[in-house]
């Protein structure tokens, strides 16, 4: 099995366009969850979310999500320093859920109210696999291509699947990540499930009341370590291993003892040949729902023992960016290793006494890190843990 390293990063997040804006927001503990403007929230209990705060380049004929994906993917490829001919054969793995749903909704709402609109972008780009179409065509990527749809863990599964293709020698380089734009169906769906906090989400707080939705795109360039060394690439971190499991328990609720989550974390440790004691930082799934955070803390305690690692939630600052979450959080984890700094969990006022970990409340912590994991858990109990080591 070949070793897999991260050589490029790209992000479009509620903190702004680019990895620099993303990390600067995380490192300062800034909360980018604000009043939503991309959809009409009139009449809903919750009216906030993590929205991209500035226009993203690209033709308006592309969907909002496709523009996010292109911006993040182009940044990652440029960051990796890959020339166009070095990209041609690479794999493209995209985690996606909403596809072009935002524009399809606009078309449907207008049409059903008798306003004539032309359905062109909506119809062409509605499926989740449309992002990969747009990316491959625009960036001329011609190797293996998958779209991963595993709900809220899609972006992390994309990274794991890309690593597998490299480790097994199918490709030397892969562009992997996730993307989602805020849509009405997502916002209203989580609202109907009573999972949205009317205020900015407070993961691991005793009084947390739910999640905040968000949007964005995160892409990573993954590469065979020897190939990266041969071309003199700068290396951020090694993807030491990953674990993927399924709860097979419930359509939305996690298995209450955290069995599936714990198995994913242990599988990642096993694949990376690391002991639980080696993991210094856990970038948690940490949605801020009462159930997720309780069960995730239980799973962490089963694997690591109480208090054995720092735990923080990126979602406390940018909301739950759906299919982008797993890849944006992988980027946050990689940057935490590189900077020797654990981003905080914003908005914690009263730490939950049932969470037996230091959740790095409100202020980032400087600490030399060698090994960290990022958890992503999708509805239906689709659990993924990515383990990164500093290089």
């Amino acid at each position: 099995m070949r070793r897999v390293v991260v050589t490029g990063l790209g992000a479009v997040s509620p903190h702004g366009i680019g990895v620099k804006a993303f990390w600067s927001g995380l490192a300062t503990g800034a909360c980018a969850i604000r009043e939503l403007s991309v959809i009409d929230t009139e009449g809903f209990r919750c009216r906030i979310g993590g929205e991209i705060p500035e226009p993203v380049a690209g033709s308006m004929r592309r969907t909002r999500a496709d523009r996010f994906a292109l911006a993040a993917a182009e940044e990652a490829l440029t960051d990796a320093g890959l020339a166009p001919d070095e990209r041609e054969e690479m794999a493209l793995i995209v985690g996606a859920v909403g596809g072009g749903m935002l524009e399809a909704e606009e078309w449907y709402w207008a049409t059903s109210r008798g306003r004539n609109t032309r359905p062109v972008p909506a119809v062409r780009s509605v499926l989740p696999c449309a992002h990969a179409d747009a990316l491959a065509a625009r960036l001329r990527v011609r190797g293996p291509r998958h779209t991963v749809v595993t709900a809220c863990s899609s972006g992390a599964v994309a990274v794991a699947e890309a690593a597998a293709l490299i480790a097994e020698g199918v490709v030397d380089v892969a562009l992997a990540g996730g993307v989602d734009a805020i849509t009405r169906i997502c916002f209203m769906g989580f609202n109907a499930l009573k999972l949205l906090d009317p205020a900015a989400c407070r993961p691991f707080d005793r009084d947390r009341r739910g999640m905040s939705i968000g949007e964005g795109a995160g892409f990573l360039v993954l590469e065979d370590a020897a190939a990266a060394r041969a071309r003199g690439a700068r290396t951020y971190a090694e993807l030491g291993g990953y674990g993927m499991t399924t709860d097979a328990y419930h359509i939305t609720a996690p298995e209450p003892e955290g069995d599936g989550m714990a198995r994913a974390i242990r599988a990642a440790l096993r694949a990376a040949r690391e002991s639980p004691a080696a993991v210094q930082y856990v970038n948690a799934h940490g949605t801020g729902t009462p159930q997720n955070d309780r069960v995730e803390a239980r799973a962490l305690e089963r694997v690591f023992g109480a208090g054995a690692a720092l735990v923080s939630s990126t979602k406390s600052m940018i909301g739950h960016t759906m299919a982008a979450a797993g890849s944006l959080e992988a980027i946050a984890t990689v940057l935490a290793l590189g900077h020797g700094m654990v981003p905080p969990t914003a908005n914690i006022e009263t730490p939950d006494p049932d969470v037996h970990f230091d959740c790095v409340a409100r202020t980032a912590r400087e600490i030399a890190l060698d090994c960290a994991i990022s958890n992503s858990f999708g509805f239906g109990g689709q659990n993924v843990t990515l383990l990164f080591r500093r290089r």
Partner: protein, 91 residues
């Protein structure tokens, strides 16, 4: 930008984005028609027009309004070049 320069950019788009043979793109003139089914045209279909529209908006930084009937502008390279040139800043 003159319509002639716009035409050269459109030829580049034909090759880079619509995957035309460079020789076929080089043969096109202002008089060449675009839509499939028109005599002597380069045979663009509805999906080609979407890709072409995206490429034009991204290359020239303009927005084409879908609520207006765009078909006459996409009839030939002459009409399209004039349409684009007219939307550019300073036009």
């Amino acid at each position: 930008m003159e319509p002639k320069e716009v035409l050269d950019e459109l030829k580049t788009i034909l090759v880079a984005r619509l995957k035309f043979d460079p020789r076929r793109a080089a043969e096109t003139t202002e008089a060449t028609a675009l839509p499939k089914g028109v005599e002597g045209s380069i045979g663009l279909d509805s999906l080609d027009f979407i890709e072409l529209s995206i490429a034009i908006e991204e290359r020239f930084g303009i927005t084409m309004d879908e609520s207006e009937d765009l078909a006459p502008h996409f009839a030939s390279f002459a009409t399209l070049s004039r349409f684009i040139a007219g939307k550019l800043p300073g036009a």
